[in-house]
């Protein structure tokens, strides 16, 4: 049994045995077949808890309301009431502790997301009051004249 065919074979068999010995220690105990059966439910159960632990960043308008009630009630009287505060002010995360100040997006692009006129039939986009970004004061920011918290044209600055 001493030839060039068997020597590498012993090495391979040795590796297989080694892997089989390591496997029970390496594979987590909760790895196996779970509720969705063998085809879709073969996984490490602890990963579900890992995903649940991800931190929530967007806290929602109700969270903002706990401190900034005046702002929320005033904007609630305008058509912009449907927009979440955090869509422009950025995710609250742990605000006010972290971050203590939110970075507000005041760019022209932020307003144009809805207010660049796209006359698309069968989409509600056509019903939003909009402008042609190339013609309507292209060089200045929208917030120079318009107040996003009171977007009515009567409320122009």
């Amino acid at each position: 049994m001493k030839n060039h065919v068997f020597r590498p074979l012993w090495v391979v068999i040795g590796l297989v045995v080694l892997i089989l010995i390591i496997r029970p220690f390496y594979v987590p105990k909760d790895f196996g077949i779970h509720e969705r059966g063998y085809m879709y439910g073969w996984y490490r159960k602890g990963n579900i808890e890992d995903w649940k632990k991800v931190s929530v960043k967007y806290q929602g308008k109700e969270y903002c309301k706990t401190c900034h009630q005046d702002k929320v009630t005033s904007i609630d009287r305008t058509p912009h009431a449907i927009i979440q505060c955090e869509n422009c002010h950025g995710p609250a995360i742990e605000h006010p502790s972290e971050p203590p100040k939110l970075a507000i997006d005041r760019t022209r692009g932020q307003c144009l997301r809805c207010h660049a006129k796209l006359a698309y039939p069968s989409s509600d986009r056509a019903n939003i009051r909009g402008i042609d970004p190339d013609k309507h004061n292209p060089d200045i920011e929208c917030v120079m004249c318009h107040n996003p918290h009171n977007p009515n044209l009567e409320g122009l600055k």
Binding site: R36, A119, S122
Partner: protein, 260 residues
């Protein structure tokens, strides 16, 4: 003639040799597999109303921030597509940066730096379609995973175990909807998981919360009193690529045949 000593030696070798591959195999009785399968009282499903979508892209922005997908990398868990059909039968579709910054121009991105402006009077129909993982009931991405790193949770959400993924990319190839990609930081397969950390806390997903127009909604299809489940089960809704038999759980109102 074989001696008793040789016979015993050879027998021991054969038994040892056969037991190695046998140790690698896990034998399951059908009864045991059946016993593991259990029905959950929750099955998350998603509803998209394409009439309401205006292509603002707030959903994409919120998703990328919420799920820590590098903001400037051209990958995203959810995106919005624009479809423009002209009166002479041409179809244009684009989704620049996954619509992270919305659609702010009539010019359609054809790729490679080319743009096509379609005049208002030439448009037959035009609309926006938000896309995300369909959390299929028969997820092909899970079937192909060789290591059990992607799986379906009991409530139907398909997730990726980042510690277990080897980055082979089979799942990215297998998904007919193209929702999977490599996470630029973790170098593992990445996909929408219905903001699992939010829905399990009773919150809405980041995209549902960020949508000002109610174009995106999420609910539990197994709860007959759930308002979203009611719409899905009683109204006319469509699914994407039904011919693949994947049984998607993202339902669309106002789906057009051009949408793939």
């Amino acid at each position: 003639m074989i001696s008793r000593r040789d016979f015993l030696k050879n027998t021991a070798k054969v038994v040892a040799g056969v037991s190695i591959p046998l140790a690698a195999i896990e034998i399951l009785s059908p009864a045991r597999v059946h016993a593991i399968k259990a029905d959950s009282s929750i099955r998350w499903a998603f509803l998209v109303d394409t009439y309401k979508c205006v292509g603002c892209g707030f959903c994409v922005k919120a998703c990328k921030n919420e799920n820590e997908i590098p903001y400037d990398a051209n990958v995203t868990r959810t995106w919005v597509e624009r479809y423009v059909l002209t009166k002479d039968g041409k179809l244009f579709a684009d989704s620049p940066k996954g619509a992270r910054d919305g659609f702010i121009s009539t010019k359609i991105d054809l790729g490679m730096g080319n743009f096509q402006d379609v005049k208002k009077e030439d448009i037959k129909k035009a609309f926006f379609v938000p896309k995300l993982c369909n959390q299929c009931d028969n997820p092909p991405c899970v079937q192909v995973c060789p290591v059990g790193a992607t799986y379906q949770a009991p409530d139907g959400v398909v997730m990726v175990d980042r510690t277990w993924c080897i980055g082979c990319g089979y799942c990215i190839m297998a998904c007919p909807y193209g929702v999977r990609f490599f996470h630029p930081k973790y170098h593992t397969a990445e996909k929408c998981n219905f903001c699992y950390h939010r829905i399990t806390k009773g919150l809405k997903t980041a995209c549902v919360q960020a949508c000002p127009f109610g174009a995106r909604q999420i609910g539990n299809i197994k709860d007959p009193n759930d308002p979203i489940a009611k719409i899905i089960t009683t109204e006319r809704v469509g699914i994407l690529k039904s011919e693949f038999g994947t049984k998607p759980q993202v339902f669309y109102i106002g789906l057009d045949e051009e949408v793939r």
